[in-house]
């Protein structure tokens, strides 16, 4: 595998995507909007936290650390880690799927597939380049969103309760899962993009692919699975296997002819 050719694809796709505000606008704007809005909402809602919340969620007797302050903090900790954390993990995937969905079928629609596919590049290099071109912004946005969200939460918890919630072990574990989750999801979307006839079709199917990821926050809400370190470690292993399998299948099943209009 020639790394220079892979990076040439990545560089070209990123330059192409970031030359159009229609693509990078929603990709950056939506996660950043929620990264700012949701912590403010969390802090605001926390003042209405129930009196028994600390005991229920964290197993702490509220009276030990100051009554309602404990309840509010318990709400912020639980809500931001167990519910918003997984949501933020999925958001960059959804938005960067715009690039992934476009990556092959976009070459077909803009009639650049012919020149790209007659260039000296292997299927593996091309496929990996396309995945990385979507995965790199997705991972960059994930980290940015976590930092902004965590920063705002920390600011308010420090201001009102003189304590910092982040960094937190669960968040580190979530971030550790992020690359495998992003590679697996985007890999699937890239496969879709290499097989459909239009960008619209690719976007519709990729939205369906990304949908199951939303299960994670709901699973957490209904406490079906505890978001423990073991859960994240298991998830990491599963996602890593899925990502490798997806990349392998994508390369094996890729056919130049599908991208060339007859």
């Amino acid at each position: 595998m020639n790394v220079a050719r892979v990076w040439a694809i990545v560089g070209k796709d990123l330059a192409d995507a970031f030359s159009s505000a229609e693509i990078y606008g929603p990709m950056l704007g939506i996660p950043l909007f929620f990264a700012i809005l949701l912590p403010l909402f969390t802090v605001y809602v926390s003042q209405y936290a129930g009196t028994e919340l600390a005991a229920k969620l964290l197993g702490i007797e509220a009276s030990i650390i100051g009554g309602n302050v404990a309840n509010r903090l318990a709400f912020i900790v639980y809500f931001s880690i167990n519910i918003l954390g997984p949501i933020f993990l999925t958001m960059p995937i959804i938005t960067s799927s715009v690039i992934a969905a476009d990556c092959f079928v976009g070459e077909k629609e803009s009639k650049t597939a012919e020149s790209l596919l007659t260039s000296p590049i292997t299927k593996g290099e091309l496929f990996l380049g396309k995945i990385l071109a979507s995965a790199i912004p997705a991972f960059g946005i994930t980290i940015a969103v976590f930092l902004i969200f965590g920063g705002i939460i920390n600011y308010f918890t420090n201001l009102y309760y003189h304590t910092l919630i982040f960094p937190n072990t669960d968040w580190y574990l979530m971030l550790a899962d992020a690359p495998a989750l992003i590679m697996a999801t985007i890999g699937l979307v890239v496969i879709v993009s290499s097989k459909v006839k239009s960008i619209k079709e690719a976007q519709q199917i990729s939205a369906l692919i990304a949908l199951p990821i939303f299960i994670i926050p709901f699973v957490s809400v209904f406490a079906l699975v505890s978001l423990s370190p073991e859960f994240f470690l298991g998830l990491l292993l599963v996602l890593a296997v899925v990502a490798l399998l997806v990349i392998y299948l994508g390369i094996r099943t890729f056919k130049k002819e599908r991208l060339i209009a007859a």
């Binding site: 130049k256 002819e257 007859a262």
Partner: protein
């Protein structure tokens, strides 16, 4: 002489349409090969088979001894291709496009910049180097696409109607550059439906009709084979009453901005063209519509 392209029993079907039907031919190193035929005759499909974009349904096509559709990177590095589309990224500048393809070819940036400068200069497109591709005219895009195909000094250059949108001066420059490449040993495959281009090359001609190779040989022998030709003369501006009358007298049928003639042999084309020019018609191209073979 090495055989650069070898096709044997080559057939390509799309569902129930046979686009290329049992074609066998070979192209030698340093040869100029014209693919001619009307629209829908299979020129583009054949070129796409040669550069490996399509897999044959039956038979095979090899380039440099390798199956074209599975050719390794080392073989594809020797191939330049300009398809019926320009193959350029509209949102990127000319230089970004050309540097991207240089990187795929493994050309170092400094060397690539020198090469790009030389190629753009050769085709008179150096002033567009920083322009976004989407802002360029079709003719300029075509020049840039040709530059892209020439970046790696290809040993096999496959072109699909590369002068379709070029002005006559640029088209001539391109033909000169191609002739030079052939002298240096490059094999050129050049698809056209423009009859006025036939005489401008010293080429082997492959005549296609409905996916079949119906004529194959040097220009003179192929020209003698073609009979019952229908051609179309395209022109600029509007025809005056006198010009319309002159064309109708010659047997022409006026169809929008085109005049269609049914003629007995290809040898009559220069006379027709001469009469049209003398009548003051500004001809832009003379194109095959249909023909029969003797």
């Amino acid at each position: 002489m090495q055989k650069v392209v070898v096709a044997k029993g080559l057939t390509k079907r799309f569902k129930d349409i046979t686009a290329i039907n049992d074609i066998t031919f070979s192209m030698e190193e340093g040869s100029f090969n014209l693919l001619v035929g009307p629209n829908g005759s299979g020129k583009t499909t054949l070129e796409r088979l040669i550069v490996g974009l399509y897999e044959p349904t039956e038979g095979s096509v090899k380039i440099f001894g390798e199956e074209a559709s599975a050719a390794p990177v080392s073989v594809m590095a020797k191939v330049g291709y300009v398809g019926e589309n320009y193959g350029l990224y509209d949102n990127l500048s000319v230089i970004s496009n050309l540097l991207f393809f240089s990187r795929l070819l493994g050309i170092e940036k400094r060397q690539a910049l020198e090469r790009i400068d030389k190629l753009l200069g050769m085709l008179g497109a150096e002033e567009f180097v920083k322009r976004k591709v989407s802002t360029l005219s079709r003719g300029t895009k075509q020049k840039i696409a040709v530059c892209r195909a020439l970046l790696a000094n290809p040993r096999l250059l496959v072109l699909d109607e590369p002068t379709a949108f070029l002005d006559p001066e640029s088209a001539e420059k391109l033909r000169e550059a191609l002739a030079e490449l052939v002298k240096e040993g490059t094999t050129v495959v050049y698809a056209t439906q423009r009859l006025d281009e036939l005489s401008k090359f010293n080429a082997d001609v492959l005549v296609l009709k409905k996916g079949k190779l119906v004529g194959y040989g040097d220009l003179d022998s192929v020209v003698k084979m073609i009979r019952g030709i229908e051609i179309e003369i395209s022109y600029l501006g509007r025809l005056s009453k006198e010009q319309e009358k002159a064309m109708k007298t010659l047997g022409g049928r006026l169809m929008g901005k085109r005049i269609v003639f049914s003629i007995g042999s290809i040898g009559k084309i220069p006379k027709l063209a001469k009469e049209a020019v003398e009548a003051g018609i500004n001809i832009t191209s003379i194109t095959f519509l249909d023909y029969n073979l003797r």
